[in-house]
């Protein structure tokens, strides 16, 4: 032990890392076997469970690495003097390798590229160069600028030509005289009256409840009238409201 120059705690950290890595390796292996052996592929549940386990494993490793960052930064590894270096050269090379193996490196590069091309500039800033950043920003700005212009044009058109129209395009198609507005009087009259009332209300700062026609009952939220010529009952079965009402009271009457 003493020859390693590590304290008890430091040794524990190394040992923990080793254990976690071995757990990760065995989880990966079991997933790999599952995928190889099962035909058809393992079901969604088991894949999800595996992903969950791998996620935990990686998380645990990251945690230990973060906690012991300084220690692992200064620890240098060398084989013990009595290690049969000549006969076990291969394993030594593998263990003491500082650069990743070529295929691992390729996978890491691919990961980095994927990360860099993710559309979250804040997370990738450290990876990409500033000029690239700038370029990306201009492209984004163009997209958003274009979107804003298009929105503004549409809003302009709406304000100039369509705002005073109280009916939807669909209602126009079916003819506005067929629209069930739920109002007793003709739509235009009511609209003007309401305008007056609104003004009065604003002056008094009180809700409309008081000054309505005494014969009219005030309902707290009248449901919107169904669209003309479409009978939802026949096409889609019972409405959501009907089902919920029955589920609440058990029957429709009483």
């Amino acid at each position: 032990m003493s020859s390693l120059g590590l304290s008890q705690d430091e040794l524990k950290a190394v040992e923990q890392t080793r254990q976690r890595l071995s757990q990760l390796s065995s989880s990966l292996n079991s997933l790999k076997n599952d995928v190889f052996i099962s035909n058809p592929l393992p079901n969604l549940d088991s894949l999800q469970a595996s992903a969950d386990i791998l996620n935990h494993n990686v998380h645990a490793i990251l945690e230990i690495l973060a906690q012991n960052n300084t220690l692992f930064g200064r620890v240098a590894i060398h084989p013990s003097t009595n290690f049969p270096g000549r006969t076990q050269e291969n394993i030594l090379l593998q263990l003491l390798r500082k650069k990743p193996e070529p295929d691992v490196e390729a996978a890491m590069d691919e990961g980095k590229r994927t990360l860099a091309s993710m559309p979250w500039p804040s997370q990738t800033q450290s990876v990409i160069t500033t000029s690239w950043d700038k370029e990306k920003e201009t492209v984004l700005e163009d997209i958003w600028g274009g979107t804003r212009d298009a929105c503004q044009m549409r809003i302009n058109e709406y304000v100039m030509h369509e705002e005073s129209d109280s009916f939807t395009a669909e209602e126009h198609e079916f003819g506005i005289e067929n629209v069930r507005t739920g109002l007793q009087r003709s739509f235009d009259d009511e609209y003007e009256d309401e305008d007056d009332e609104m003004e009065e209300d604003e002056a008094e700062g009180a809700p409309t409840a008081g000054n309505a026609d005494p014969d009219l009952m005030i309902i707290d939220r009248p449901p919107p009238p169904p669209a003309p010529a479409v009978s939802t009952q026949e096409v889609d079965g019972a409405t959501l409201e009907t089902v919920m009402r029955l589920a609440t009271r058990g029957r429709f009457t009483g």
């Binding site: 969604l44 549940d45 999800q48 969950d52 707290d220 939220r221 449901p223 889609d236 079965g237 019972a238 959501l240 409201e241 009907t242 089902v243 919920m244 009402r245 029955l246 589920a247 609440t248 009271r249 058990g250 029957r251 009483g254």
Partner: protein, 259 residues
């Protein structure tokens, strides 16, 4: 307790996809539960629950819930539900009869939801009292009468505190004034909705009553979830009168005073 929920409808053809997505979001497989729900109606004149059940039926920890429920039922009469968990394999299409007074059930009460204020969230008070047995007997002893029954089939997921439930309801054959003796086979049930759509509820519970800041927080959390879910589901603003459980008091004739 207060419950807040969003409501959407899911077509039967979209059910499997919806379940797969919800499974991915919640990291769990759907839990299927089937309830037989008995509905009870209170008397026209609200009388509360005058007869408290004996301690053998009402455990001490539920006593407060019972008192709270009784207080609510003094204000107005309501429709109450007694829910029994059943399984298609053992309870349907068999000769056996369920003895409701010997089986455990949950007594459920829900209030008329709070006014909506242009929000798709339905928010209402509720009280659930789990009882080990004798629920119909206790209810009848308190002036409540049996009215009808329904079967609820539901698949539920949990994500943190969020509960996501897909439900479908079925009628049971008519049976004069009492629950039907033998449940028909599962496949012979008549769906409430001929199109067999599913009702999706995304729910949050607030355990404490009378803490508006907790309600506001839950509301915000549900709205955050709605932002995520509304790409998948079309949430509807449901008129609160749809969930009205109150029983109208007998009409009072002006000038004569209450009878």
């Amino acid at each position: 307790m207060h419950e807040l929920f969003l409501t959407a409808s899911v077509k039967p053809g979209d059910f499997d996809t919806a379940c797969a997505i919800l499974q991915g979001l919640s990291w769990m497989t759907a839990r299927r539960t089937i309830y037989r729900i008995l509905f009870f109606a209170g008397p026209p004149q609200a009388k509360g629950l005058p007869n408290t059940p004996p301690p053998s039926v009402l455990p001490r920890q539920e006593k407060q819930l019972w008192a709270e429920l009784s207080k609510q039922l003094l204000r107005s009469s309501y429709i109450l539900q007694a829910t029994y968990e059943v399984t298609p394999e053992t309870d349907f299409g068999k000769e056996s009869t369920m003895d409701f007074n010997r089986l455990p059930a949950t007594l459920r009460w829900t209030d008329l939801p709070d006014p909506l204020r242009d929000s798709p969230i339905t928010s209402r008070k509720k009280i659930d009292v789990p009882l080990p047995h004798s629920v119909p007997g206790i209810l009848m002893g308190n002036g409540q009468t049996y009215t009808n029954e329904l079967i609820q089939e539901s698949y539920s997921f949990n994500r943190g505190d969020l509960e996501i439930v897909l439900s479908r309801y079925y009628h049971l054959p008519e049976s004069q004034g009492r629950p039907i003796a033998h449940l028909p086979a599962w496949n012979d049930l008549r769906p409430v909705d001929p199109a067999q759509k599913w009702v999706l509820n995304v729910k949050l519970n607030v355990a404490e009553d009378g803490q508006p800041e907790k309600l506001t927080k839950a509301n915000e959390e549900l709205m955050r979830n709605k932002a995520e879910f509304e790409k998948l589901f079309d949430f509807k603003v449901v008129d609160r009168r749809v969930f009205d459980t109150r029983i109208a008091p007998p009409p009072v004739i002006p000038g004569r005073g209450p009878p």
